[in-house]
Amino acid sequence: MQSHSYKQRRLVIDNTQLEQIANLAKLNIADDALDATTKDLNNILALAEKLSEINTDNIKPMAHPLHMTQRLREDKVGEQNQVQIFQSIAPKIRDQYYLVPTVISNPSDSG
């Protein structure tokens, strides 16, 4: 297998930033995995630094390979509501609502 040919140039993120990113992504990083995860992410971002070699001032961004526009359809009822089938695999429901722990705490409601 070929070796790692892109050398890391600078650290983009530190452990504090990693914790912020993880929080945005709703992930926990264990304390003993912080250094290794930060290192991995910095290595990947170092790879991405190669992109700064190119001047892209006059190039349009490409979001979609076929340059399609969003297709519109007639505003007609199609598929019927299948809430029971789709909620049959939910972790917790009551009266067609998805149950989660209490969001606004209320001492009289255990959630």
Binding site: H4, A25, L66, P101
Partner: protein
């Protein structure tokens, strides 16, 4: 010739002639799957397969249906199948029994095929080795110590080891072509939008595309005929008419011009792989094809471009995995934050988390322009390079993977792993159709040849691949160990 070495066309003829029934054929494959030690499948759907086989036998007895009636196949565990676990090889979806069919699943059911089971893959299709599956790694049938490639590794192994007549795969950055190459089978990633993505668990939506993994180009054409087509349930599905992909397979390819991108023959390319690619080019020249060197200058930026765009899209797509509506939920969450955090932290594997975090970072305030927008612009340049190239040549040819299959567990560094995708990513970024076909062996391991065509040129790609397979026998080789079984 035993049943599991036959092509789809041969199996279909055998079923129609009454040489064997679909139930017999299905039991033969199920027996091989249960006796296999390659871990190619996450779920084996014996009861469903036998039910479908009996229905197919009835159809065949009445002389009804098309060429694919009763053909047993392996379905990548990324396509939703009603009533069957659809896990994407993740703990997050280990309990997910799909309440609906993906359009690809629906089309294969409508054509009366027999689903043998759901194949192993890298978790959420993020990987090149099928080692990141929650259900353990899959082994390469040519050498059990080697990776099968990924992410559609289980599908490639199912076909290579004679555990199914064909398999489905998905390809976001090479996930059909690279395992096809490393396992010595034929794999086709169609033009973006050719096959519906509805019900296909999303990784990177502007790159994901499903396609067939088969023994031959002819089989790929037969399967693509059923998989392809417009789907109103997929807003990026293309409206282009679907031709009969089998119709022009035998057309002469004399006069065709093949382009060899100089960037695909760099020093990173293993010499054993390079020599097989060069030998394949000689075969094409013998078929009356002219060869021209071309350049895809921006393809050298494909790796960083892809590894920004794909993680950005995955961080958005996988935000739906939150432990609320389906999938894994942590035990006894103390509040909503805890539910999100622990469900996702416990449910996702390491590589998935890594890509979600890269995407989250690259899309975050202050970094969007420098990473995501920049990568989208370079994606445009990569696509423009192909436009220029296809003004001069009909098909682009090169290697699929810089090396043959490497040892299981031998690459631990994520970036080193990403670098192995160098030759496959550009076609995804541009949205172009591309194939891998067997081109020989280097140190007893398969080498795949990559063919890239212009948009909607699947017919020409399949024709070119078929003519090559009429001249060569690499696609007929089977791993010794699979021959010894059942």
């Amino acid at each position: 010739m035993v049943m599991h070495t036959k092509t789809i066309a041969e199996l279909s003829a055998g079923l129609r002639a009454g040489d064997f029934s679909c139930v017999e054929l299905t039991k033969h494959y199920l027996n091989r799957i249960h006796n296999s030690d390659l871990n190619a499948f996450i779920s084996v759907t014996d009861d469903l397969a036998l039910r479908q086989a009996r229905a197919a036998d009835d159809k065949i007895a009445k002389g009804e249906g098309g060429i694919l009636v009763g053909i047993p196949y392996a379905h990548k565990d990324i396509f939703c199948s009603t009533g069957v676990k659809t896990s994407a090889a993740s703990k997050m979806l280990d309990n997910f029994i799909s309440p609906y069919d993906a359009t690809v699943s629906h089309k294969l059911n409508q054509a009366n095929l027999v689903m043998l089971g759901k194949t192993n893959m890298d978790e959420f299709a993020m990987g090149s080795t099928t080692e990141s599956s929650y259900y353990g790694k899959t082994h390469n049938p040519w050498d059990r110590k080697k990776i099968p490639g990924g992410s559609s590794g289980g599908s490639a192994v199912a076909v290579a080891a004679g555990l199914s007549a064909f398999a489905t795969g998905t390809d976001t950055g090479g996930s059909i072509r690279q395992p096809a190459s490393l396992c010595g089978i034929t794999g086709l990633k169609p033009t973006y939008g050719r096959v519906s993505r509805y019900g296909m668990i999303a990784y990177a939506s502007s790159l994901d595309q499903a396609g067939p993994m088969t023994k031959t180009a002819q089989d790929a054409a037969i399967v693509l005929n059923v998989m392809a087509g417009f789907d109103k349930k997929d807003s990026t599905s293309a409206t282009q008419a679907v031709p009969d992909y089998t119709k022009n397979l035998n057309n002469s390819i004399q006069g065709l011009t093949i382009g060899l991108p100089k960037e695909f023959f760099s020093t990173d390319l293993d010499s054993g792989v390079a020599s097989k690619i060069m030998a394949a080019i000689k075969e094409f020249e013998a078929l009356g094809v002219s060869v021209k060197e071309i350049s895809l200058p921006n393809s050298t930026y494909a790796i960083p471009t892809y590894y920004i765009i794909a993680p950005c899209e995955c961080s958005s797509n996988l935000s739906r995995m939150d432990g609320v509506r389906f999938g894994y939920r942590c035990d006894n969450p103390k509040d909503l934050q805890d539910l999100y955090l622990r469900s996702r932290t416990e449910g996702f594997g390491e590589e998935v988390k890594r890509r979600i975090m890269i995407g989250t970072f690259a899309l975050s305030a202050g970094y969007y322009d420098a990473y995501y927008l920049k990568a989208q612009k370079i994606r445009h340049s990569i696509s423009d390079d192909f436009k220029t190239a296809f003004g001069k040549v009909d098909i682009i040819i090169g290697p699929v993977s810089p090396t043959t299959a490497w040892d299981l567990g031998s690459i631990k560094d994520p970036v080193t792993m990403y670098l192995s995708d160098i030759y496959t990513l550009s076609a995804n970024l541009a949205g172009l159709p591309s194939m891998s076909i067997p081109a020989g062996f280097s140190q007893n391991l398969p080498v795949g040849l990559q063919l890239i065509g212009n948009y909607w040129s699947e017919e020409r790609l399949l024709n070119t691949a078929h003519k090559f397979q009429m001249q060569t026998d690499f696609h007929q080789k089977t791993p010794q160990r699979s021959e010894a079984m059942a």
